[in-house]
């Protein structure tokens, strides 16, 4: 029997903040931590955009609007579970334990040598969808090694059109690999709307086509994302194979700091999706349940701001990138060619 073509959107909390499903069993502390991540993600994103405008960062992709999916897909993971995604997943990376410094160095144009081994994240992917076969491979290795971990591969709606997305799903199905695919369907691939990306009604329907379940989830509903990811991750951990999750969310900002979305999408979209803001929604819940007070919230925002500013200060206090380092990272040992080229540039730069 094939897995069904789902049309059910998992939701725990309506955009208005009404609980209509099962709230995951999380302590107040844990709930605030999740909220803090969302707040940090948006603040970080806003700050990076501002820094880019000042010429202090390279082209940056804001993640505003996608905080619930970003946090909800990473928070259920254990430390030794693996994660890989694109530029839009940096909040998931932070949640997973990648130092803020690693991300900032990347956008500052440094060698990205601050990923920590403990975070178990592959470097931020630029070539869309290519990280997904990697995660299937890691999942195959985990299975071979009898390890209880899983791998989570994330990409955008646009990336699902790539051959690698489909090849990865197919391999995952065949090898029953403990991998969970999460598509952050934010409605757009730069200027191309989801409706022009595929004629299928839902990307989640790609799951059954490759022998795995496909789930739809309200990507602006932290609880729903958290819950569906938990279920799929536990299912994979239990040896029951891969799953595909389509999280429906919206990119509130521009594609990158180089993009002008006014060229291609109506402002009314933003009004519409602004109402479903994942942070406001979750905050309403926390206020309602008296888990967070206005005052707590202010303190939390301040803390987050300080954390980000401190990271920026550390970053900007770094010595300039040593251009010799890039020669040393190509192979485990410098080839004779690289040795000669490195020596020559040092000579020409007067740095012998």
């Amino acid at each position: 029997m094939p897995f069904p073509l789902t049309e059910t959107m998992h939701q725990v909390m309506t955009p208005e903040g009404k609980i209509i499903g099962e709230v995951p069993l999380l302590s107040a502390e844990q709930l605030v931590k999740l909220y803090r991540w969302m707040v940090l993600g948006r603040a970080f994103s806003d700050r990076m955009v501002a820094l880019q405008r000042q010429g202090r960062m390279g082209t940056f992709s804001a993640l505003n609007g996608q905080e619930a999916t970003s946090v909800g897909l990473a928070a259920p993971l254990q430390q030794k579970d693996w994660l890989a995604g694109s530029y839009r997943e940096i909040l998931s990376y932070l949640v997973k334990g990648v130092p803020m410094q690693a991300i900032m160095k990347l956008y500052r144009g440094y060698v990205s040598d601050d990923y920590s081994a403990e975070a178990h994240c592959l470097p931020i992917q630029i070539v869309l969808a290519t990280q997904l076969p990697h995660m299937v491979g890691i999942a195959m290795a985990l299975k071979y090694d009898r390890q209880p971990q899983v791998a989570v591969g994330v990409c955008g709606d646009g990336a699902t059109s790539e051959g690698d997305f489909n090849e990865a799903l197919n391999f995952a199905g065949v090898f029953k690999a403990p991998v969970v695919f999460v598509v952050q369907n934010n409605g757009w691939a730069i200027s191309v709307p989801r409706s022009k990306q595929t004629a299928a009604q839902y990307i989640a329907h790609r799951g059954p086509a490759f022998g795995m379940p496909g789930y739809l989830v309200d990507g602006n509903d932290l609880f729903a994302v958290y819950k569906v990811v938990c279920d799929c991750v536990e299912r994979a951990r239990a040896g029951e194979g891969p799953a595909l999750i389509e999280a429906i969310t919206y990119r509130l900002g521009a594609h990158t700091t180089a993009d002008d979305p006014k060229r291609y999408r109506p402002a009314s979209d933003l009004t519409e999706w602004g109402k479903r803001d994942p942070i406001l929604r979750f905050r309403a819940f926390l206020f309602d349940q008296h888990i967070l007070s206005e005052k707590d919230n202010d303190v939390l925002h301040e803390e987050v701001t300080t954390e980000i500013e401190q990271a920026i200060n550390r970053l900007e206090a770094l010595p300039p990138q040593d251009c010799a380092q890039v020669y040393d990272l190509v192979y485990s040992e410098l080839t004779p060619q690289l040795k000669a080229q490195r020596a020559q540039i040092m000579r020409e730069l007067g740095r012998e």
């Binding site: 144009g109 790539e162 051959g163 060229r263």
Partner: protein
């Protein structure tokens, strides 16, 4: 005559083609409403409709694969790969399919396809966005590779590429897109594919370059000439494949010294082929080893160091001086 940036010149060429030949179609990621991420296709969908200028799903192999079908059918597709580095995802369609269709079909089918893609450094782009890929395609018989260095040539070469009955890869340098304007005729004209050009005459040494490195070579020439150190001839390739060996040979046989400059990594790059061409045609005239000034054999230099590691006028001057040493 209008003074246009390379983007404006290319946009004008595309508009002319769409206007005069209903077989011309333009497609790729974000080329429609958005007008391309660099605005090369700005306004074209509006003017010529969604049937002529359209966005595709995000899949480079299928962009080129469908373009091959469209070309075989008899239309004139112009497919955009958003950044040349992502053409690696279409590598098989370009190398084993577009390039081989004429041979495989015994000449029955041809692929009059133009693939446009932006690339190029010194713009602090992300990984893969700046990669110089011409060297990866140069070893593939059946395609032509063209890299303009200015708005005038860009327009003329694009027209020539569209008129060409074989697949042409037109690589547009990001830094040249908007860095300067030039007088460009608003009418149709072509710049021939397969012809290099001496952009600056000199007698002591030949510098061979293309794309953004032409300006770097010219700057180096200027420096050495203003200090009276050397008279430098600069040859611009314009077409990487098939290479204009004659123009290279004539110049190097005259000067006896040569420096090759490219932005791509050194090993196995276009520079190696140029050295081989010089070896073949100019060995007896050659007074010193040909120098290769290139980026290092690393992944494309990251933003913080690219201005140091991509060839600079200073490094070209150093190389020229090495060829002049006794």
């Amino acid at each position: 005559m209008p003074r246009w940036t390379m983007i404006e010149a290319l946009n004008n060429a595309l508009a002319l083609e769409l206007e005069h030949d209903r077989r011309v179609l333009i497609f790729g990621e974000d080329v429609g409403k958005n007008g391309g991420v660099f605005r090369v296709t700005e306004g074209l969908q509006n003017r010529f409709g969604e049937e002529r200028v359209f966005d595709t799903p995000l899949a480079e192999s299928a962009i080129i694969g469908t373009a091959i079908g469209i070309a075989v059918y008899g239309l004139r597709p112009i497919a955009e790969i958003q950044f040349a580095g992502f053409s690696l995802l279409a590598f098989n369609q370009i190398v084993s399919q577009a390039a081989h269709m004429r041979s495989r079909s015994g000449g029955l089918y041809t692929v009059p396809l133009v693939i446009r893609a932006v690339f190029g450094g010194n713009v602090r782009s992300h990984e893969m966005h700046s990669d110089n890929i011409e060297g990866l395609f140069m070893h593939t018989p059946g395609i032509k590779i063209v890299i303009p260095s200015n708005p005038y040539d860009a327009k003329g070469l694009l027209h020539a590429a569209i008129a060409d009955p074989d697949p042409v890869l037109l690589l547009e340098h990001m830094r040249l897109y908007r860095s300067f304007r030039q007088e460009v005729p608003a009418e149709y004209y072509t710049v021939p594919i397969g012809k290099a050009v001496v952009v600056h005459e000199g007698s002591d040494v030949t510098v061979i370059a293309y794309g953004a490195m032409v300006a770097v070579a010219l700057e180096a020439a200027k420096q050495l000439e203003s200090s009276d150190e050397a008279s430098v001839e600069v040859v611009e390739l314009r077409t990487i494949a098939p290479m204009d060996e004659q123009t290279i040979a004539d110049s190097v046989n005259k000067t006896g010294r040569a420096v090759v400059v490219h932005e791509a990594a050194r090993t196995g790059g276009v520079g190696a082929e140029i050295v081989a061409v010089i070896n073949q045609h100019c060995l007896y005239a050659l007074l010193k080893p040909v120098e290769r000034v290139t980026s290092p054999d690393t992944p494309f230099p990251i933003p913080t160091v690219e201005d140091l590691l991509i060839p600079t006028p200073g490094r070209v001057v150093n190389a020229i001086r090495r060829t002049l040493e006794a």
